[in-house]
Structure formats: C-alpha cells, structure tokens
C-alpha cells in the first residue's frame, strides 16, 4: 500500500506568538487546533484522529480530554523535533487505511518562558549523562567532523543563516528580522566549536498545527489542494559504538524512501523546508537528501544558493528556525506549514517561489550526533 495522493493538507496554523508567559501550554495547543480548523473550514466535531508528541501536557489521553475530542485513531510517537513530520506520514497512512478521515496534529510549548523538561533517557543514561551533551556541542561535533573530512568551512555554514535572514526580513512574526552577512555570523560569539551564536536557532514559545484529510473532504473545502505523495522515516544511533559516523544522518534512509514513493527526484523539488536547528543541520540534510553529493554541501549552500529568487534551491522562506520560530525546540511543524504556504501560493510575495507545485519538508529529531530520527515528506499541489 502507498500513501501517495491519499492524504491532503487541508488546514495549517502557526501561532503568531514567540513569547507566551501568560498562557498555559495546553491552552496554546487548543488555540492552535482552533486556528488549523478555521483555516481548513472545519469544526472540532469533524476531527476523528489526533496526533501529538512529547510537548503535549499529559500526553495523548490528557490532550484528547482537554480539547474535548472524540477520536477513533491516535498516535503519540515522539521523535523530538521531527515528530510532526512523522505524524504527517502516519496520519496519511491512517487516512489511506480508513482509520480516520480528519486528523489533527498539534505542537505547542514555552521554552522561552520556562525550562524544558529533561529528555527521556534509555539504557545509555549512566554511560552518557555525565558528559554534558547539549544540542550545541553535539551538533558542534558533527560540524567539526564534517570540516575534518570534507574541508567544509565556517563561511559556508554562515551562508545558511544569511539565506534564512534574507527570508525572515519579510516575516512580520519572525523573532529575528535583520538581514545578516557572513561576517556577522563569523563575528558572533563562539558557543561550542565550531558553531557561533548565529549558527544556532532561536528559542521561542508557540507552536503550530495541521489538519490532514481525505481527497473527497479536501475537495469539498475552499483551500488550494495540497497532498502528500511520499513519506519516509528512519532512526540512527551509534549502535554499540560500531557505526559512529557523524557525517550523515538518518535522512540518507528516510529521503530515498520518500522520493521513491513520490516518484520524483531532488532535481524536481521547487521549494525545500529543511530543519535548521543549526546551520550544520541544514548542510548535512541537503547532502543526505541528495540535493548535492556528500561532502559538497558547503559549496552548495554558498553564495546565496538557498535564497528565494537568487539561488537554485529556495529554503525556509519564513526565516526558519534560525530566524523566525523554533517552537518548543521542535522545528518539524513549521517546516510543513511553510511548505504548504508555498504550494498554496500564500508565502510572502517577496519569497514566493513561482509556480511552486512540488515541495519537500524534512527534519531530524533528537540529537544528530548521538541518536536521532529523520522524517521526509514530499508534498504536491494538485
């Protein structure tokens, strides 16, 4: 069975807030659910499937009760920031199998207001916890190894932030709207070698949501038609220390699965939403997905190649996690939302890709340099 063409993205909503000290996290989920339903032109009673991850207070049972839903299908897979890209794939599967017909996916939280809950840990706890692994230094190790093996430079990584900033200047909700230069990135303080502060994403409160449905229901609504045509997911870890290779991610497996199901290649993609927790995250994903060869990501991203209207592969035209929004330190949701805006022709006119009929939304979750998941969604305008 394939999900190709079976599931449509009928509703999207990105919460405009970037700082929400006066709201509860459950409240943000509810506001987002309401926003996504209004965008789709549906009501809460229509929802029969619900998807949420580790950011949802109390988990799926508490959320279904809090929101007052009555669902016949649910999924609380948590793979960090790419959970929502996994949920989109799983929602498409459920819709294709007839397990639900209108699925809601929500993400919300407040890391800017207060401390996040610590990550869940497994059998590795005693063997890793003492060493102070954070996102900064773990992604720093990936960048360090990439530079060692392929000669990638800090200047090349900086181009990714520069491109994101060019897009963010047009997004009134973006947390950072100033256009920056390669020099600005290199002159920002070193956080964890070789990553500078401007190689890192923003920390924001907020979230986003999606409504996924059948073709028949999508056609009865008023929004431009956007559908899923391919999905892949994968998990990678050091596996007993034997397979440690920080130069590639699980995207080398999730990407080809998604492209094969969709029947398209990276060359066909008009717009790419690529998870940008750090600049190195983007560079590695572009290689892993096949937009360039392994090791050539640095050359690929340089000189504005990711800037809409300038380069060959417009990416993260909302400003991405590097400049606009990285709600709950989980960037997968906003990747899907901007891809749908592009396919609908509803991105900001300054960054809208002409005739954008095929897009990719891809992300990793967890820690790229330790154990992580990847999920790739290929979306098409009908």
């Amino acid at each position: 069975m394939t999900i190709k063409g079976k599931a449509y993205l009928a509703g999207i909503y990105e919460h405009p807030t970037r700082h929400a000290p006066d709201k509860s996290t459950s409240q943000l989920h509810a506001e987002i659910a309401k926003g996504a339903l209004e965008d789709a032109g549906l009501t809460k009673a229509d929802i029969d499937g619900y998807f949420c991850a580790g950011d949802a207070p109390g988990g799926v049972m508490a959320m279904v009760d809090y929101l007052g839903l009555k669902v016949r299908h649910f999924d609380s897979t948590d793979t960090g920031g790419c959970s929502y890209l996994v949920h989109l794939g799983h929602a498409a599967e459920a819709i294709a199998a007839g397990k639900c017909s209108i699925a809601l996916i929500t993400l919300a939280g407040k890391p800017r207001t207060g401390a996040m809950r610590p990550r869940a840990t497994g059998a590795e706890l005693d063997f890793e916890a003492a060493y102070g692994a954070t996102t900064h230094n773990i992604y720093g190790m990936c960048a360090m190894r990439h530079m060692h093996e392929f000669g990638t430079t800090s200047e090349q990584l900086a181009w990714i932030k520069v491109a994101a900033s060019h897009h963010a200047q047009y997004n009134p909700h973006a947390m950072l709207r100033d256009v920056v230069t390669v020099e600005d990135v290199l002159n920002s303080p070193m956080i964890s070698d070789p990553l500078h502060r401007m190689d890192c994403c923003v920390v924001t409160d907020g979230g986003g949501g999606l409504i996924v449905t059948t073709e028949a229901i999508a056609r009865s609504l008023k929004k431009p038609l956007v559908r899923m045509i391919g999905h892949g997911e994968a998990i990678k870890g050091p596996r007993g220390g034997k397979d440690l290779d920080l130069t590639y991610s699980a995207g080398v497996w999730s990407g080809p699965r998604a492209f094969e199901e969709a029947g398209v290649t990276p060359k066909d993609i008009k717009y790419a939403s690529i998870y940008d927790s750090f600049t190195i995250t983007v560079l590695m994903q572009l290689e892993d997905l096949g937009f360039c060869r392994k090791g050539e990501g640095g050359k690929f991203v340089a000189d504005g190649n990711l800037i809409s209207g300038v380069g060959k592969l417009p990416f993260n035209t909302d400003g991405g996690g590097l400049c606009s929004n990285h709600p709950v330190n989980r960037g997968g949701m906003t990747k899907i939302i901007e891809a749908v805006r592009q396919l609908r022709g509803q991105a900001h006119p300054k960054v809208q890709v002409p005739n954008c009929d095929l897009a990719i939304a891809h992300g990793t979750g967890g820690l790229l340099g330790v154990r992580h998941a990847a999920s790739t969604c290929i979306l098409e305008r009908v």
Partner: protein, 129 residues
Amino acid sequence: MDSTVKYPTPQGNPETKHFWEQTVEGKLLIKRCTACGEAHYFPRSICPFCFSDQTVWEESSGEGEIYSFSLMRKSASGPYAIGYVTLKEGPSLLTNFVDCNMHSLKIGQKVKVVFKSTDGAPLPFFTPV
C-alpha cells in the same frame, strides 16, 4: 569540566553492575560477542549486531583516538570539551577530555582513559597521551 565538578553517580542495574564494579579497580570494560566476534559499548547482554546472548566482558586497553570533539565555551561549571573516542578495540564512546589544554585538541589525537570519582563508582574520561 574542572576537578571541582561533581559528576553524577552511576545508578547501575543488573545488566551493567559488573562494569561499574570494575571502574572501581581502574578498568574500562567493553562487551564482545563470542558468536559474531564484534565488540560494543555501552554494554548489553544481547549483542546489538547478531542478537546472540553469548556476550562476554573484555578489558579495554583504554587507548584510542579522538573521532570528533566540541569545546563548550560556557556552562554552569565552566568550559568543557565533549567528544567521541574510538577505542583500539573498535567501539566508539561519548566522553569528555580532561586534564589537558582543551584549546589544542585535534581529531585523530591519541588519548587514554582516566577515571574521575563520584559518590559511587568512578566514571571513565579521556586525556591526551
């Protein structure tokens, strides 16, 4: 992290109890599967490669080289260098580099294990040789 850092005490469990008993003796153990011959770290009872339960403890030389590292410039306990070491026996492991100039670390550099105390069993760290 410097010597004033208080490291978390390993909690241990029936599967890893022997590993922590041996760090008290200054030994770094890995596991090796007698069915497929592969070594792994951190230790499991069932081989993560061939799924055999015929895994045995083996003392590592404690020698290896830096696969990658990153110097965290600020933290509550000061700067520290996280990294992966690939042991001579094959497996790679996550660690910190200690008792050294953290600004001169290099990928490929030879390192050896050193143990740092906790309220319970000592923890393995690495230092350049």
